[in-house]
Structure formats: C-alpha cells, structure tokens
C-alpha cells in the first residue's frame, strides 16, 4: 500500500534532490496481478531485474519477442543495434515503439504523399511529425488541432476508452503550448439495433461527455454513423483544437546538457500495460479477449490541473521542452524527446511516483497511466516548476537529466537505472525514428468490380407520391439521418463562452479573440461507404464535405487533419485501400491549397478476417477575421425572412 500525500508537496519534496544522489533501497518485486504483456518478462528473474550486464552475460537466453508482437527479423535487428540481446525492459520498449501504432511502419511510405504534395502555405508553424500541426491565424495567434483514434480501447471498455481518447488528444494539443478550447468526436458504431451497440454507444458517448465536460471543453460537433461493418470494431475518433500566442509554441526536444527531466501529473500505475502492443496491433480474436489487458482509467480532474499547470509554466517561460505521455508512456516520451535533440538522457526510474510500490522497471516504462507530461527544465528553474505544480496539486518529480551527445558527434544514449541496476542502455533514435518500415503488398479488393457495378440507378425509384412519402419517412427514421440530440445533449457546448455555432450546425464555430473577433470554423467528415466503393474518391469526398461545411459558414478553409481508420495492413486489399485514400486526400489537399497538418493512422480495425470499410475521417479548419459574420445553416426566423430567395448552387 502506498501512502497518499496531501498535495504534490511530498512528490516535489522527494524530487528536490538533484538527480545524482544514490537511489533508495530496492523495493521488493512481487507478482503483478492480472495479465500484462510484461508479466512474462517481470517474473523471469527472481534475483532482480534483467540488467544490461546480465544481458551481455547471457546472450542465449530465450526472449518472448514474438509474444510482444516483434517479428524474428525485428528481434534480430534489435540485437544488432545493441550488440547484445536486449534486457527485458529494452525488449518491452522496442516492442512498444516498433508497434504499428507508434512506428507507423506500414503507413510511413504512403504518408510521405502529404509532405510531397503540401501546398505552398506560409501559415503552418508545425506540421506532420509534431504532436499536432500548428497554424498561424493572425500576427499574434496560432491554433493547433488534430484528430486521433481510440477505437480498440473503446470497444473493450466503452466509457473509459472514449474518455481517455479525449484525454490523449487534449494532451497532444497542450504539448504544443496551446490552451485546448474545444473537442469534436466523429463516431462509428455497428447496427443501431444490435444488442452490443446498446453497450458500446451509451458508454462511448458518456465517456466523451464525462471527460470533455469535466475538462471544460465545449463539444462543437462530430458524427454518428451506424453500419454493421463497425459491429465488432467501433470507431471512436476525437479531435481537439487549442489556441496559443505564436511565441508560446513549445518544442519536444530534450536540449541542454544538464537540464532536468521532470515527470508531471498523475502517479504511474499498472494501467494498460501492454495495451499499446496488444490493443493497437492485435485484432479481437478470442485469445485477445482472454488476455484482456488492464484498462486505462481517466481522471479528467487531474488533466484539468495538468493543463492549468502547464499553461502557467509556459507563460512563466519555465519549460525548455515538453512531451505528453500517450499510449506508449514513458518509453515514448523519453526516447522521442532525446532522439529529437540528438542528446542522451540519464533516468533514475525508482524516482517515478508510483500508485503501486511493487511495479517493476519494465512496467514503469510501459505503463499507459493517463494525465502525465514530461518536461525538460533548466536546473535553475526546477524549484519554480515544482512550486507551480504544488500550487495546482499535481505531482512533479525530477527523474533524470539530459546528457551529452557522444564525443564523435553521434547522438547520446538513453541510460536508465532502477535502484542501481542498469536496465536500459540504448540509442534513443533507434526506438523513436529508426523503427522498421514496410512496403506492404497491395492488391485491389477482388470484389470491387462487382460492388462498383451495383449502381444506384438499378434501385427502384418511388413512382408516385405515396411511395415518395414512404421513402422520405424511411430516410428520416434511419439512425444515420435522424436527430442526434440524444447524443449532443450529453455534451457541454457552452463552457468557455466562445462557442458561436455547434449542433445542429454542420461546422462548429469558435470565437478565438474577444477583442478582434477572430474566429475559426471546424468540421469533421467521412463516409466509409463511399470509400469502400472508391477509396481515392472517398477520401477526396470526405475532404470536400468538410471543406464545404467550413466554407458555407463564411470561414476561409486553411488547414486539414485526418484520422485514417483501416483494417489490417497485412491484408493487401486493405493496404491498397489505404494507399488510394492517402493519395486521394493528398491530391485533394493540393488542389484546394490546404495542407494536411497532422493526423493519425489506425490499422487493424477488423473482426476476424473482415475489415471495416476504409474510413478516412477528415477535419478541416477555416478562419474568420470577424466571427460575427458567421452564417448559420437555418433560415432566419419567419419575422425576418419575408421575401428571402432560395438558390441552388452547383450542378
């Protein structure tokens, strides 16, 4: 049982020691409860954790790399990189960072299209590769926005999965230096009348509302689509947008040798350990169900405090580098910040504040505990940083320091000890940047010709008024077209007092600057059925729809984010759909002159061998110089409407 401190004081106190002191006595290792992908590693060595020394001495020890989702050749490469077998902790780290979810190993070669075809645009301050794209919208103000998936966790545990999805995207926005100001939620469920939809949908909606409302972020739009193809694999995408003064833009680089590495936010527990590798890379076969990894639970209250502390730290100029802790936890944050700067890092893992004292070093590195950020701060600023954290009642702990690059100019190493045992000694870039890249085989789905041949023209048309009436009634009653109030009422759209348009509008509109009237419009759209028929055109259509929705409010569309939800990349038909969709979106963006500033790829959305419809979801943002000139979609009230003319534009 760990003790609960009153506030961050004790956390801060414990951390005040500069990260060079001898560590405390080793905590005993006990068996963790429940399944975790790391169990198999943790319990292997009775006498203590697997160390670098031990790894060097026992090169032939069998390691469960396949259980962790690493292919044989990937494992061989790890051994080549390290010149020895990896330690248990290192193996877990490679399995996490080289997973599809973190490494984009199947999508990387295709996503280059976005960069290649990026339109000439002077507004983009940060683009693909950052936590979220940043776009300048006035001399002083920039906005950052991004959409991300949390599909698999939301199927396992709808409320918490969806809630932590919102939490995760909001931290991405926060990491750029922005105050998050709104969220949106494009959703896909199975058939509306399927019993499992009755489990998944209310949980997802309550989770998105529960987290977003509690964070004080207005929900300004989204989608709800029902289709049997999502029955065993709902899509829960979440978008967040944030605002920052241009000069507050933050970087993730762990620069400055001697700078302190601070972990800020919630304590680390056994949340979703192995979740990244198991949840994001495996499909839901029975085995996965049995090995149900522990679920992450969100604490939006903690996230709210984290947001306020980070913003206060930014404004006081106390942060040299920052990275959110997402699905891959400390592993990802440590390796990415160090790799981005080319520096090394020295981390004392026993300093990480834990919820359960018995956690092993591997578990600490793999934990997906929510509501945490990693900061790089100068030693002079450490006390001020700890004081801000204490004011807001969040833990802040110095867990390491930035070390120099190698003497020969090559990047530094990430060295992690746990109670004096060296458990990790790796080149951080090998985890963060140099993961495997695949050019997966692609083949047009064999049924596509038949699908395309089955044209709408062959459907019977209503022949008389009675039939027409029936068709209209059927359409209005269809779950995909009916009123969405049951969902949207569960979301706060008023908080922050800047929501100009939200449901039932096709775009959300926000006032960004009260003085100048600067504003933005946002729409997210996608149509999996179009994309199934033609992924290239389907992606373009999703873009065009979101673009139109933004344009008709009176805003000028300027930037794009996307979440690409697809089946297994190991299926050539899915890979073909993916490549087509990326091309379509990249071409469309080039034609419209709006860059893709960031996004997310979600693969393995399938049940057994059946993939979901390819579902690219596209978010478009536009700006208003004067948001009072926004145009709502409804007709004006009857009193004012007399004599208005109706026009139909387009072909």
């Amino acid at each position: 049982m760990t003790t609960q401190p009153e506030t961050a004081t004790s956390g801060a106190e414990a951390a005040r020691g500069v990260p060079n002191q001898p560590p405390a006595a080793a905590a005993p290792i006990t068996k963790p409860s429940g399944f975790a992908a790391t169990d198999v590693l943790v319990n292997e060595f009775e006498e203590g954790p697997d160390t670098v020394q031990r790894a060097a001495a026992t090169p032939d020890e069998l390691q469960p790399h396949a259980d962790l989702g690493l292919k044989d050749d990937e494992y061989t490469r790890i051994r080549e990189i390290l010149g020895r077998r990896p330690t248990a902790s290192e193996l877990a780290m490679y399995s996490i960072m080289w997973s599809e979810h973190c490494s984009y190993k199947s999508s990387k070669v295709h996503l280059r299209e976005f960069v290649k075809k990026v339109p000439k645009n002077t507004r983009m301050l940060a683009g693909i590769g950052e936590n979220a794209g940043v776009v300048q919208i006035s001399e002083k103000i920039a906005v950052t926005f991004k959409v991300e998936s949390h599909n698999h966790p939301s199927y396992v545990e709808p409320y918490q999965g969806a809630a932590t999805g919102v939490g995760g995207i909001v931290r991405d926005i926060l990491a750029m230096g922005a105050r998050p100001v709104a969220v949106m939620d494009p959703l896909r469920f199975g058939a509306a009348d399927h019993p499992d939809t009755a489990r998944v949908l209310p949980g997802v909606v309550a989770g998105i509302g529960g987290y977003g409302n509690c964070l004080g972020l207005p929900n300004i739009g989204g989608e709800i689509v029902f289709d049997p193809c999502y029955q065993g694999n709902p899509l829960v995408n979440a978008l967040s947008i944030g605002v920052l003064p241009v000069e507050r833009l933050q970087k993730k680089e762990a620069t400055g040798v001697g700078n302190v590495v601070v972990l800020l936010g919630a304590r680390t527990g056994r949340d979703g350990i192995g979740g990244v590798s198991v949840l994001a890379s495996a499909t839901f076969d029975e085995e996965a169900e049995q090995r149900r990894p522990s679920v992450q639970v969100g604490d939006p209250f903690m996230e709210k405090l984290l947001i306020e502390s980070c913003l206060e730290l930014y404004d006081a100029g106390l942060v040299s580098g920052i990275q959110d802790l997402g699905g891959a936890g400390l592993t990802c944050a440590l390796t990415e910040t160090a790799a981005a700067a080319g520096t090394g890092m020295r981390v004392w893992l026993e300093r990480v504040p834990l919820r359960e004292a018995s956690m092993s070093p591997t578990e600490i590195l793999a934990s997906e505990s929510q509501e945490r950020m990693l900061l790089i701060v100068t030693p002079e600023n450490l006390d001020k940083v700890l004081a801000v954290a204490e004011k807001w009642g969040v833990w802040a702990t110095a867990i390491g320091e930035v070390t120099a690059a190698s003497a020969d100019g090559s990047p530094g190493r990430l060295l992690i000890t746990w109670n004096d045992h060296v458990v990790v000694d790796v080149p951080p870039g090998s985890l963060a940047d140099d993961g495997p890249v695949y050019e997966r085989p692609m083949r047009e789905p064999s049924d596509l010709i038949l699908l395309q041949a089955d044209r709408a023209e062959t459907l019977p048309r209503p022949a008389n008024a009675e039939e027409l009436r029936e068709t209209v009634l059927r359409m209005i009653a269809s779950p995909n077209l009916c009123d969405k109030t049951w969902v949207t009422e569960q979301y706060d759209r008023y908080v922050l007092g800047n929501t100009v348009l939200a449901q039932p509008e096709d775009s959300g509109v926000l006032r960004i600057d009260e003085e100048t009237g600067l504003g933005v419009a946002l729409s997210v759209d996608g149509n999996g059925r179009f994309a199934r028929l033609d992924p290239y055109e389907g992606a373009k259509l999703a873009l065009a729809e979101a673009y139109r929705n933004v344009a008709v409010t009176g805003a000028e569309p300027i930037a794009v984010t996307d979440c690409l939800n697809f089946g297994s990349p190991e299926d050539p038909a899915v890979m073909w759909q993916f490549a087509q969709a990326v091309n379509g979106l990249a071409d469309g963006c080039q034609q419209l002159g709006t860059p893709v500033t960031g996004g997310n790829v979600s693969f393995y959305n399938q049940t057994g061998a059946a993939a979901i419809h390819p579902t690219p979801v596209v978010g478009v943002m536009g700006i208003f110089d004067d948001v009072t000139r926004r145009i709502p979609m409804g007709f004006p009230a009857p009193a004012k409407a007399g004599g208005d003319l109706l026009y139909l534009l387009g072909e």
Binding site: S33, E157, G269, S294, V297
Partner: protein, 85 residues
C-alpha cells in the same frame, strides 16, 4: 427482513480518482493518518420472496459491475437493521 448486498469495488490496480480526491481532501479536515481511500458502490437488492444469492450474483455480473475494471462480492444480510442504522 433479509436482503442481498452487492459490493462493487474497482480492481486494486485500477486508478480510483474519486478515492484519491477524498484522500487528498482529508488533511484539510485535520485528518492526516489515512493512507488510502477507495470508493465503490454498495447495492441493496430486496427480493419479493427468499433472497436468492445465485440470482444476485448473476445480476451483479451482468448489470451491476463492470468485470473489466471491477470486482464484486455478493452476500445475504440477514438483519438489515443491524447493518445499516
């Protein structure tokens, strides 16, 4: 009267933000010797006839607890008055 009580608690490894918030508030009430607070649900089920433990267990598993993150315990409380004042 007899009734069935179902206690539902978060599994020990699952974060309990509620319990944590309460624990953090206690020092302000002058309470400093509490090491942990966990908050779950207590559900009282009254049966029309005899209390049925198996039935209650099934209800708990399907409806009252979320087995992904929660454990539950089902028991018959013979003398209701004695347990809850």
């Amino acid at each position: 009267m007899a009734r069935v009580v179902v206690d539902v608690m978060l599994k020990p490894e699952i974060l309990d933000p509620q319990g944590q918030a309460v624990a953090n508030a206690l020092p302000r009430l002058g309470v400093t010797d509490v090491s942990s607070v966990r908050i779950g649900r207590r559900i009282e089920i009254d049966f029309a006839g005899e209390p049925d433990l198996d039935r209650a267990r099934e209800i708990a598993d399907k409806l009252l607890a979320n087995p992904v993150i929660e454990d539950f315990d089902v028991r018959i409380v013979e003398d209701v008055a004695a347990e809850v004042a």
